[in-house]
Symmetry: C2
Subunit: 271 residues, 2 copies
């Protein structure tokens, strides 16, 4: 059991891949969106002939359940430096689960002008951060990824949200499994929703769309992550993420659009 093996795909024809949604990656029975994106990205990267999802968008159409799935890909354009590929994940009954569009390339360390308007989030060391609660709905998922929350952002789990729609923390894969660029897609969608800290009468927020931009392959070690929501309006919210590696480099940005249902939050709402 590893991220790499649980996102493996097998090419069965040109552009067609078989895969399995593994058990344990679910939140209350539905596979985590970042996990599904990473699994699909493995197929898309193969089809693109390039390893790194520079910009990848997923629209989530139906919950993914453990079991056999297939990924169909099509190369829209293969250029000198990038290839743009579409993809769709369907289950064994042919039901559409995720639709994707991405541009792939090789993130081998571009030189050029740099200008950073923000620094990595300041976090206490991982051991001084909060371990996420192991509710029944996410019990296995807590073994799939390692996360430590900033103490100021962890109160929601005990019914004391901070009031700021923000979640900061550390992320890595267990057992020192390296974080490649596909694992960054997972990291961008593993933390509890920011809205859990917002003191709003909002329940679970299903993700409609998630786009991740990758800037670099991460250095080994923990990732520093920060997720914030600025606008809850019109029945939607956005959640913006930043992922930084241990060398202090911004390796990924993410933004998702989620629905804001007017529902009571379930007591055991998981992360």
């Amino acid at each position: 059991m590893s991220f790499a093996s649980d996102t493996a795909v097998r090419r069965i024809a040109r552009g067609r891949y078989d895969a399995t949604i593994a058990t344990g990656w679910d939140i209350g029975g539905n596979a985590n969106g970042g996990y599904l994106m990473a699994l699909c990205a493995r197929a898309l990267a193969d089809a693109a002939g390039r390893p790194d999802p520079v910009a990848l968008t997923a629209h989530f159409l139906a919950p993914g359940k453990p079991g056999a799935v297939s990924v169909e890909t099509e190369v829209a354009r293969a250029g000198r430096r990038f290839a743009t590929v579409t993809g769709s994940l369907t289950d064994a009954e042919g039901r559409a689960i995720v639709q994707l569009l991405g541009t792939f390339g090789e993130l081998v360390g571009a030189e050029g002008p740099e200008r950073m308007e923000a620094a990595p989030p300041e976090l206490p060391p991982p051991d001084a951060c909060a371990v996420l609660p192991r509710e029944e709905a996410v019990s296995a998922f807590r073994d799939r990824v390692e996360m430590r929350l900033h103490p100021d952002d962890a109160g929601y789990a005990a019914g004391a949200p901070s009031g700021e729609p923000r979640v900061r923390g550390w992320f890595r894969l267990p057992g020192d499994e390296p974080i490649d660029t596909l694992a960054l897609l997972l990291g961008a969608d593993s933390f509890p929703p920011t809205i859990f800290n917002a003191k709003l009468p909002v329940g679970w927020v299903p993700t409609l769309e998630l786009t991740t931009h990758l800037r670099a392959r991460p250095a080994p070690g923990w990732l520093r992550c920060a997720f914030t929501t600025r606008f809850v309006t019109g029945g939607f919210l956005e959640e913006d993420g930043e992922l930084w590696d241990e060398s202090g480099r911004l390796v990924a940005q993410s933004r998702q659009l989620a629905l804001v249902p007017r529902a009571a939050r379930e007591p055991a709402a998981p992360g």
Copy 2:
């Protein structure tokens, strides 16, 4: 000549549309990305059977030139409230220009919890803002959309960039043409690149990917817009946009990923 007529599409078969990239929407010969997105979105909305692009992503594969084009669409899933559609814009030679993925619905004013962490950008009245320079490369485009720049952000055009990678200003269509949700896609990609204000040795920044999230249909009148770049690193930059209507409502957010070539900026680099 209007935005609506210049983005018109004609269905020629199920999921297939003919259209024309009209003259005058180009920046130095290549059609503006927001214009292309809007044209495609008109086809996708028809295929989706829903008018509003709630979340739309475009990957730009090759420059769009004036002339006949076609848009192929495919519905990935049509649900009760949303439909998710893929699309591709090709020119008369079959060359892929733009690849798209979007979820469409009806933005009819959802009720529910609201929480805003930011307000519309403060701008002097339109008449006290700067008219964009009418360089040769964008001469016609300046007649297609009306923009007024915050005086603090307009110095780049005279060789005096502010030093902040930010562009704020007003946007509307000429002749009081109403701004529908498709025109918001145009507004999200019409302003000069933020990087022009950054005092960096960066030339033109081609857009790799642009995602726009729509929250509401705009009230009539000017839009207040703000675009910022926080991270120039790894050979890429992001540009985040916010569009607010005259009622003070956030109607759209956008984020694009652009390439940062190490090229000298052309003297007449247009907006």
